[in-house]
Symmetry: C2
Subunit: 220 residues, 2 copies
DNA sequence: TTGTTTTTTTGACATGCATCAAGGAATTTT
DNA sequence: AAAATTCCTTGATGCATGTCAAAAAAACAA
């Protein structure tokens, strides 16, 4: 929740939260085609969102963690456009969108906050487009890891160690790579002494090297 | 502008438009880093939006035409995150975002409209991610052409003929392909009798074939 | 018109990642 | 604990697209 609320406003914002909902690992918070009613604030847990093409190919469009808002894809057509799957047991706050809109009309700070959240998602997707359109496998994985630790660190976790909540295949889907390529790239980073990997556990040894790869200052 | 306004509301919405601005072909409506003040409704002309990475690679993130709104990328950080370049002489309505927000608080229909526009952009970018992450060159170009004619047709133009406002390189940047690949794929579609191409002019001969390629019902 | 620049097309060749395959490690189920 | 399943790693090979190059066509400028 944003800063800039006084106590009274804060209470009103709290009242928008209709209830909480628990989602078990592997279950869906919502599916493509579901009627859109609410946005969801992730309290705990980790989600992926993904879209599927007609012939069954799946594209992971994002990974979301505690404190992030999902469901905005549903506003435009009153039904959801992607699936939101819990990658670990999770709990979300259900925020009926009609209430969010109503209160937004009363509280300009909330209104602005909602707009920023949606704008942030647009900007994030822009940078994923850059990643998918222009970067090579190593750059993509470096960008992915740096983004992940940065977000985890903002939540008080380590800057250098993380436990992936998703499979190589899901990482690959997000990055536009096959799972074998993801695995090989992890191994290469490990061989180069940039990271330590043991399955889902990753430790970043040389963050600068990762950043250089990301900015593709390739040293031939 | 959306339906659902009465005359009085319509007038208020009109008043949000501060002024109009003309942008010559090749000039920028806004640049990455510019202070964010306004959204822009395209009245006439055609734009591309693009982001650049530190090492200078450019990714076209979208092509926008009359009736579409650009600038929402700027909300989150109060400065723009991409460049908006006119691909032909254009005219836009400048809508100061503070006024949009103010009036949105008064008019729920406008509020909902603003939310839908942002949600639509999120959903569009999701499908671009699918395109960049999962599709092959022919599928990408087919999707691109179908999307373009569909939008042009919605504006009263032909369902089957169009004049591209962008170069092969810009198409390639949007689709995550090199310009040579775009050119070759155009030639292949032409050889297969699916389209006619003469430089920027494209005529769709067999829309069903394009749709099949897009859905990748490949007939080996 | 003529010259210059930009854009497009096409060919030859290179390469990064995908595909196919197999085995090993970890996790879940029985 | 054993069996089954899922996930991960690694090797061999292939292919779609990138790269390099050159020329043609179109657009623009002088």
């Amino acid at each position: 929740m944003p800063v800039g609320f006084n106590a009274d406003e804060m209470q009103k914002v709290d009242e928008v939260v209709e209830k909480r909902r628990r989602i078990k690992q592997g279950e869906r918070l919502f599916s493509s085609g579901d009627a859109f009613t609410s946005l969801y604030a992730i309290r705990t847990g980790f989600f992926k969102t993904c879209v599927a093409s007609e012939d069954g190919r799946e594209q992971v469009t994002g990974f979301q963690m505690a404190g992030e808002i999902i469901g905005m894809d549903g506003i435009v057509a009153d039904h959801h456009n992607c699936n939101a799957v819990a990658l670990e047991d999770a709990e979300v706050c259900v925020m009926p969108f009609a209430s969010v809109e109503e209160l937004s009309r009363e509280l300009p700070v909330l209104q602005r906050h909602v707009h920023k959240i949606m704008s942030r998602e647009i900007v994030r997707e822009n940078s994923v487009m850059m990643l998918l359109g222009n970067m090579r496998a190593e750059e993509r994985l470096a960008a992915f890891l740096l983004n992940l630790v940065q977000r985890l660190h903002a939540r008080g976790l380590s800057q250098s160690e993380l436990v992936l909540r998703m499979t190589r295949e899901e990482i690959g889907s997000y990055l536009g790579l096959k799972l074998e390529t993801v695995s090989r790239t992890f191994s290469k980073f490990s061989d180069d002494g940039i990271i330590e990997v043991k399955q889902r556990y990753v430790k970043i040894i040389d963050a600068d090297a990762l950043k250089k790869i990301f900015n593709s200052q390739i040293a031939y």
